[in-house]
Amino acid sequence: MEKRAHYGLIRSLVGKKIFMALTGLFLCLFLVAHLSGNLQLLIPGYKGRLQFNNYAVFMTTFPLVKMVSYVLYVSIVIHVLDALVLTWRNRKARKVDYAVKSGYGSSLASRNMGVLGTLILVFLVVHLANFWYVYKFGQTPYMTTPEGHYITAKGEVLPDAELRDGHLFAGGLDKGPAMKDLYEVVRQAFSEFWIVALYVLSMVPLGFHLVHGFQSGFQTLGLRSGRWAGLLQKTSLAFGIIIPALFAVIPLLLFFLPEKFN
């Protein structure tokens, strides 16, 4: 038997699906990391505020994190473009559709991954505009101690520092950039009902997307057989419920119990 040339990972449908799986599972990993970062918002008082803002500095300056963030951006782009190409190809395979569709044997989520993904993408844009853009380019307030002293991004408290263009000056010397108060941005955002509602509701399509996507990724990579097959299905269900639920809990708590957490 002679093997056909020019058919491999890049050109084939299965290959494209493998890239969907790899990027998708990487995004799942990212969600776990993102969630563990977010949970720091629930540490009450000044301690939580300082820890969260320190964490924000770390996430935007540590070289390895920066590198991984570029991999993340690329993954999102590949995941979306691949989805468009695959959806277009798959739609083309049945020009005359059924008059009656039963949908038997498949979940609603599995049949509507594109719709769910689009909803998540819209949320992602809003989410980046709310926090990422504000933190990087917008008017972010600066972190102060309870006594009202500024803090450098490196965590040094400067009692008599002067703030100019985002940098702290003490005794005429530039002590480096000041720590931004991302916590305050989050607190303000999550004190508004509509933003909280949007964030909580957006976790619903994310959950459905994950319940199908998590196990689908393993299936596409060929990592499903025997006893693991049943466990994979349950793990996927748990992942798709627990992760979005925990994400949703944070804005809800900050909205309804602000005095407990701020």
Partner: protein
Amino acid sequence: MKVFLKVWRQKNSEDSGRFVDYTVEDISPDMSFLEMLDVLNNRLIREGQEPIAFDHDCREGICGTCGLVINGRPHGPVHRATTCQVHMRHFRDGETIVVEPWRANAFPVIKDLVVDRSAFDRIIQAGGYVSVNTGQAPDGNAIPIQKEEASKAFDAATCIGCGACVAACKNASAMLFVSAKVAHLAHLPQGRIEAKERVINMLSQMEEEGFGGCTNTGACEAECPKGISLENIALLNREFLKACLTS
């Protein structure tokens, strides 16, 4: 029993086709769905009309020839049964039943409910065989094969190539069929020799025929009359990755 049918009628592959309503009366609940269609066809012939064309052969669920989409479900409402194994007792008296052919660009309608499934034959021709000399039957029996592996090969080999997986899939993908054929040979030592060529060739032929790709919805497995498992698709993906990365 009395049933109301909405049957897809299409003169030939060029015709655009339409649903035609029929009422079939005095049906025994013990009749098979195909026998009910036979009764209707007899009447149509007597009335000088063109009978409804549909595929059938063994009528005992093993040849893979029959295949109708009944009320949106390939092979009808019975779990793990072919169309010929579906009986009228599974329908309500007075029920309206919609009968459609397999819908996929790769399975063009020839007439009414008959589709051309030669795309499956060409996928088999692309690699669903063993071309190395594996000797006579005693030579095959001389190779020890683990029971678990032999069973998996057997389970995959029960695919009758009816095409219900394609009909059920929202992408009209033939992945379950291809995976069954690849898995059947991949589990056996005789099949391992050409495993890489096989998986590449059969998948590339599947795409050439115009089938869609897999989105792991699981509809194929649920509708397969032989219960071919989705695990075969995982194996197919694994074999494909292996073939791409090691050759």
